[in-house]
Symmetry: C2
Subunit: 312 residues, 2 copies
Amino acid sequence: MKAINKDLQLDDAATPSLRDGEVLVKVAAAGVNRADLMQAAGKYPPPEGEPEIMGLECAGVIADPGTTDRKEGEQVGCLLAGGGYAEYVAVPEGQLTPIPQGLTLEETAGVVEVACTVWSNLGMVAGIQEGDRVLIHGGAGGIGSFAIQLCKAMGCEVAVTAGSAEKLEYCRQLGADVLINYKEQDFAEELPGWADAILDVVGGPYLEQNIKALNTDGHLIVIAVQGGPKGTLSLGRMMPRRLSVTATTLRARPRPMKAAIVASTVEHVWPLLESGAITPNISQRFPLADAKKAHEHLDSGKNTGKILLTVS
Amino acid sequence: MKAINKDLQLDDAATPSLRDGEVLVKVAAAGVNRADLMQAAGKYPPPEGEPEIMGLECAGVIADPGTTDRKEGEQVGCLLAGGGYAEYVAVPEGQLTPIPQGLTLEETAGVVEVACTVWSNLGMVAGIQEGDRVLIHGGAGGIGSFAIQLCKAMGCEVAVTAGSAEKLEYCRQLGADVLINYKEQDFAEELPGWADAILDVVGGPYLEQNIKALNTDGHLIVIAVQGGPKGTLSLGRMMPRRLSVTATTLRARPRPMKAAIVASTVEHVWPLLESGAITPNISQRFPLADAKKAHEHLDSGKNTGKILLTVS
């Protein structure tokens, strides 16, 4: 088969052989994520035993059901530990999703990873409920824009940070209630004690401000450390307000945990995709062979929405 | 009535008047806690609307059931936001416990606060289960010695830190499996990636080591910051292992939350007190009038076990 190699060139690769419980999926489209850029730069190696090929999500058609009861020809979305930038990928059955009614295969390819990331953290870890207040950093990004829609669909009040008036306007259109330009305002001063949950991608440099912005019993969840990995934690401030900090990644989780996340995400988020409460936003499509161009486009920082590689 | 005043002297005080849902308890004995020392030093004021009198736990007999369906003369344990160093105290009904079968009123007075503190954190927040590995700092203290017994009764493996061979031997007798003298050993080097849950009273200075000592999906719970309130948090280390940090206090919680904690503690911990799996350890009794001596004894650091004030 053809696949994208480490140098981001289309190359020959061995078609994956199936392990017990895996199906072979003929890839229709694969999502491009920031983590792929890190992997291409050699900074985010795949977990042990997982493919070297990039690509954390895709959608396609089952070409070989292996030992499972799935049917050849079934259309599926796939949460991957790697391997999506290819014509075929082996996927543990627990990491398959149905195609949400009304969505295309391409739209599904671009929504699996973000949906599982946002739901596993805000839904399963922070346990957000109707009426909660959620602060989302980087609201205009792929994770942020999905999180805004999810939180609004669940009846939460949403504050976002972003770095320009245009990005904040985009967040407002997605439903965000409170807009903070982090270049002009300190979110902790704007929203002291406000947030029941915070979804953060900045990490260390935001840690003290995030603690200040949390409400009693609030939960900070860090899913990326784009600003730096370390920060100062004020445990003394946290105690009387019973605050929690959790840091997670999706990719490193063992397969049974991923299967549980996929099942919970399909249960809680797929209906919101089918009702239109959350709409996928595909900004650009590139043929698989142009993966390098797709990465350059994402890396430019000018992109709003999801970038896809189309395969077959 | 008589009560201990801010200067730790026995003094006249107004007998508490009951608010809706409160009962008046004639105090038989009250537990002495480290937090009381802080309050006496002016560093730990009571929550708004709660008594100025010290004392976070007691046991006694209902003298006036107020608007509740309780009976006059019923023996009860009491989790208090304050007021235990007195002949009478007003207690919200949700903060009453039964006397565990086989325990005296005095033993109950010394066990309510520690049981609710340990269970609310290890049981309700960290969710420890049979087979989990739990690291307990200050294993020989009041919290630590109770936590060791609870964890062993639940089938956990237990590691402790303490500052002397004598204290570690005491922890071993209570059931601790791994003994670490923090003056001679670095617990993070001894137990890298070991703990599913850590119960910490040191705070800032232990934060980086605690993160190193946590197992994947592990949870650090900080309930005191005796070493300092701030530390460095390595979010980058936490992400791939999905670690959580929670800091809590019991006293500042609103009454409905305290009632939920008391109910869960009575459900899960009282049977372990009744079976003898957890045994209260009363080291010293002082008459109420000698509260100052009781504080000096606790402050000396030589005490192992619970100090009680006996009232009636």
